[in-house]
Amino acid sequence: MSLSSNNRTQPPPPSAARLLRLLRWVLPVALFVIAVVIEWGEHVRIEGESVSPSFFVETALFGLIGPTVIFLTLSWVVRLIDAYARTSDELAEVNRDLEAKISQRTAHLEVATAQLASANDDLAAANEELRQLDRLKSEFVSLVSHQLRAPLTNIRGALEIISESADGLPPTSRRPLEILTLETGHLSTLIVKILDVSRIEAGRLSLSLGPVAVEPLLARACAGTFGPERGRRWRLNVEAGLPPAWADEMLLEEVVRNLLENAARYAPSEHPVAVSATIGGGHIRVVVEDHGPGIPIEEHGLIFGSFHRIGESDSTASGYGLGLYLAEKLVVAMGGAIGVESPIWPEPDGPGSRFFFTLPVAPDEPRGLDDETEDA
């Protein structure tokens, strides 16, 4: 941007100023000479007077006063012009300074913009690299898990064959065989979970959404985790008239089972795990409460991350840190949210934790389309 281009009042050109300075002297002198010549001609040549006082008076009147007035006027104009020129120069100077400053700032800004763009590019590249790494990691984990399935099937099969004739084994071999079978089962579960997670991460999870009656599903999941007997290890309380949720039945059961397995793993068996379902705010809310050791507040934001285990140092619990991660991904995929509260009880040795998740309610049919089909 140039400020001088906006400056409409140009100073007069220097040649005009010079002419005016010259005229300031030339014009009065010329007028004086003309007045003297005229007066001399008039008095001496025409009227034949000798140099008389009236000649001097008139010469002084026309030859001095007029030119002096003109000289003063022109001097004043010249001063004005000079002042104007000086102001213009100063203005131009200021303009130049301003322009210099602006171009300097613009240059700085351009450098900063370039640096920002470059930093942005670096960030985008780093981001892409991270995404690539994450993809690679997922693919690697998925590949390894796939590869592990075949040998694991064989190991499990071999153990099943040995277990069938375990009675013939010495007692010292029976317990290790039991442990082998148990651990192989854990490993199978882990691999299936890893493959589920990698399917979700790769966006290959397909949902089969429909209405899901919550109570039968919760009862089935509880019985599957803790055994069929109610009251001792688990309690279920479902709000009367709870409408069906809108979810994928199989995946919803997987979510509930993950929460229940967590409770079963960490909570003492003398307190039943309390499962409940209520409706509020247009959502169905399922809650799982236990009397376990609880979850430190600083871990609340972390436990839904992959491979995060509650209390890393605790080696007795056999979780792999995938259950809650999977549960969170599945709940979100079904349009709900998941969370945790802890502590929930005043007991210091069993502060417990409350896991909850929400699900949308299955849309109801528009009224009047189908008639009421009350049980006859």
Partner: protein, 227 residues
């Protein structure tokens, strides 16, 4: 019990499975790839084939296609992935059941027993319910309307099967609930209306003019009997 053929390139698995299934009373032959599996199938005329999907050369799908070209022998696929797409593809290609690795031998043995029993008693006819242009395969959990697959949730599927098994009879909401969820939920009839509405959205050509799941005012629902 039954003559079985195991086709898998994992020799250890073939060996272990043969051992396990022989102990369970079956007569087992093994084959290490699709080509030799087809030859063994022609030679031993097995009553059931256990077929691995991932094999070098002729893979499980190609082997299944060739088996299906000339035979209706039941096939249980050993899939490497738990993908629904792969499982659906397996059923569409004519597999009778599938087991996903890692599986337990006891689980596979139970599936073998079920498939053998189904195919020997019902003679190749797994329970398929038909009504109008609707075809419901209760074993493979597959619904076709005029040949086009329709995806239902397991409970929607159960409701449909319950109605189709009693085609022409009106079932009360209480009867449907008892059949689908068990007698302890007998009073929870509030579910049904919503389930039926969603079932119609997926099943019917025009959900407002239902043809398959009809309403009998004040009594219940019925699937119309074939004319």
């Amino acid at each position: 019990m039954a003559r079985l053929l195991v086709i898998d390139d994992d020799r250890s698995l073939v060996e272990l499975l043969s051992d396990y299934l022989t102990r369970a009373g079956h007569e087992v032959t093994g084959a290490p790839d699709g080509q030799r599996g087809l030859a063994a199938a022609a030679e031993t005329r097995p009553e059931l084939i256990i077929l691995d999907v991932t094999m070098p050369g002729l893979d499980g799908w190609q082997t299944l296609a060739r088996l299906r070209a000339g035979d209706t022998v039941p096939v249980i696929m050993l899939t490497a992935r738990g993908d629904e797409a792969e499982i659906l593809r397996g059923f569409a290609a004519g597999a009778d059941d599938y087991v996903t690795k890692p599986f337990s031998f006891a689980q596979l043995a139970a599936r073998i027993g079920a498939v053998v029993e189904r195919t020997s008693s019902g003679r190749q006819a797994p329970e398929v319910l038909r009504g109008s242009d609707l075809e419901v395969d209760t074993v493979r959990h597959r619904v076709l309307r005029a040949g086009v697959p329709i995806e239902l949730t397991p409970t929607e599927f159960s409701i449909l099967v319950t109605l189709m098994r009693e085609a022409g009879r009106v079932l009360s909401a209480r009867q449907i609930v008892t059949e689908v969820w068990g007698s302890e939920y007998m009073e929870e009839t509030g579910y049904i209306r919503r389930y039926v509405w969603h079932l119609r959205q997926k099943l019917e050509v025009d959900p407002r003019q239902p043809r398959y799941v009809l309403n009998e005012r004040g009594i219940g629902y019925l699937f119309p009997a074939a004319e």
